[in-house]
Assembly symmetry: C2
């Protein structure tokens, strides 16, 4: 038996954000979140368990060391425990999007690692179990396990905090145009930032169930206006909570794009924005407005990453080694 498998998973963009944890170690969040997998972007990961001397982790053609490697090894240990297997592993992982793009690779990375490890060890895990395991690697990775549009049900313990698909990728053809803002500053870790609660954080929690309701409904009813309006509201809310903790992810150009999106919409081109814990602006739109919006931001000399909804994390035949 060959303990080797390869999987692909997509990063995701949250329409209702995850901010604040109930349990740091288990990554149990304080609110549900909803996201869309980004189909044009992916991480591919091959895992082989064999009689290696040590675990070897190669990410984007570089050997991982230190905490980056430890985090992967810790994740592999979970699968070795489940399979009662003590073999060391070789992990090779590649993203088709640059690190400098500001798209977090931890969600797609840990979702792909989870799928590949489970498959390599012939563990017969449910989607729920896979999502729980991915969450332990990186919180939002649980949302990259199911198909298309997913909701992370926060739960209260390790066993009931996982993501489910609200609708498959084909359900609603919307586009995420990521306007890339170069960020010269050192990233603030969102884990560190999230620990800084303040009164605004609790005000956000009071609003978040409304945002969840309308974003979920917007996805199910294919209503971009509903989805977008509440996704924008949720994004402003999260960023203002962060600002009150001294975390400013916005750059001057972020604000420029925010205002451009509002101008476009005011002038009849339907689009909505959301922003993760970084400076890039994600612009959500229907297919018919995609080229016009891309044209507008290209004119302003911004680089754009385009993505449609993506499928679930899945095992593929192709291997990276």
């Amino acid at each position: 038996m060959k303990f080797k498998a390869t999987a692909i998973a997509h990063p995701n963009i949250a329409f209702v954000k995850y901010w604040g944890k109930k349990d740091e170690d288990l990554r149990i969040p304080l609110n549900n979140s909803i996201s869309m997998n980004l189909g044009n972007l992916w991480t591919k990961t091959t895992v082989e368990f064999n009689d290696f001397d040590d675990d070897i982790v190669i990410i984007n053609k570089e050997v991982a060391e230190g905490t980056a490697k430890e985090r992967v090894v810790k994740h592999l240990d979970k699968f070795r425990n489940l399979a009662s297997n003590v073999l060391k592993a070789k992990v090779v992982s590649e993203n088709n999007f640059p690190m400098s793009s500001g798209i977090a690779s931890s969600a797609s990375g840990f979702a792909a690692l989870t799928m590949a490890s489970a498959s390599a060890l012939n563990l017969n895990l449910s989607e729920k179990e896979l999502s729980i395991l991915a969450r332990l690697g990186s919180g939002s990775a649980c949302r990259s396990i199911p198909d298309g549009f997913t909701e992370w049900l926060m739960g209260t313990s390790n066993d009931d905090s996982y993501a489910v698909s609200l609708a498959p990728a084909e359900h609603f053809e919307i586009y995420d145009l990521v306007v890339i803002i170069r960020n010269e500053r050192k990233e603030i870790s969102s884990t560190k930032g999230m620990q800084k609660f303040n009164p605004y954080f609790y005000a956000r929690l009071a609003e978040v169930s409304e945002n969840l309701n309308f974003v979920r409904k917007g996805i199910i009813e294919k209503n971009l206006k509903m989805l977008g309006t509440y996704a924008e509201k949720d994004c402003i809310s999260m960023h203002t909570v962060m600002m009150n903790s001294g975390l400013f992810y916005w750059e001057p150009e972020t604000l420029k794009i925010i205002k451009e999106v509002w101008n476009l919409r005011k002038n009849g081109t339907e689009c909505y924005l959301t922003i993760d814990a970084g400076p890039n602006v994600h612009v959500l739109c229907l297919p018919e407005n995609k080229e016009k919006i891309k044209g507008k931001f290209s004119e302003l000399n911004f680089e754009i990453l385009e993505s449609k909804p993506g499928g679930k994390a899945r095992v593929i035949g192709e291997s990276l080694f």
Copy 2:
């Protein structure tokens, strides 16, 4: 007896902001606020009550009409009532700062109008009474009546909502360097914006007494670090509350200046920022750092208005007609 007098008053910059009213008509706020009069900027106003056919209002050499005139006439009526006087008035008012500077002239304008009207009609009013009357013209005008650094005690009724001096202008030599950001958008009226309560507004109220305590203490103890730290916190808080109501006063360049201020501070030049309901950034500093900071922003091609603390609203000999 000649019913004519001229007064001068300074605009003010709030270190702890006023956002949200308990009573719209009486302008009773939902929190105390603390500000500094801007000594280098002023409004001068001459008021004469005489047998004119109608009230005449001339602001910055232009005859005021419509709502701008009505607001002044309504204010004059209060003084006519107090003096049992039915004479019409001529009002001439001038600012030494341009409207396009983004410095609100309503505070200095109504403070000067209040002082001049009271004096012209020989009303012997206390500073408290003058502050209350100024408040009825424009909320923050009450803070431009007393000397230097003032606190608006919110009160609960018309009779106990007024400002007092925490320290005279000479007490603490700090500078406000106003970095002017050109704003091409139509201003959103702060009165209109303030009516939009949201959960974040109440989170702000929960924090504001702490900000008041430390800003007050910072002024009294001449501790710019304490004053500035909490003034910045209060400013971020107000702006994020506004953003959650859809009010974005910041321009991309506002964010650029915010980050420059933090860079300056990180590199050892002590300065703090605050922003009113507009895009300009007010940078607070001690005299010894003033030229360096001005140099920095001049380099970046921003226009700067400089001001030291200003005195109280006062009657002067010079007349504008």
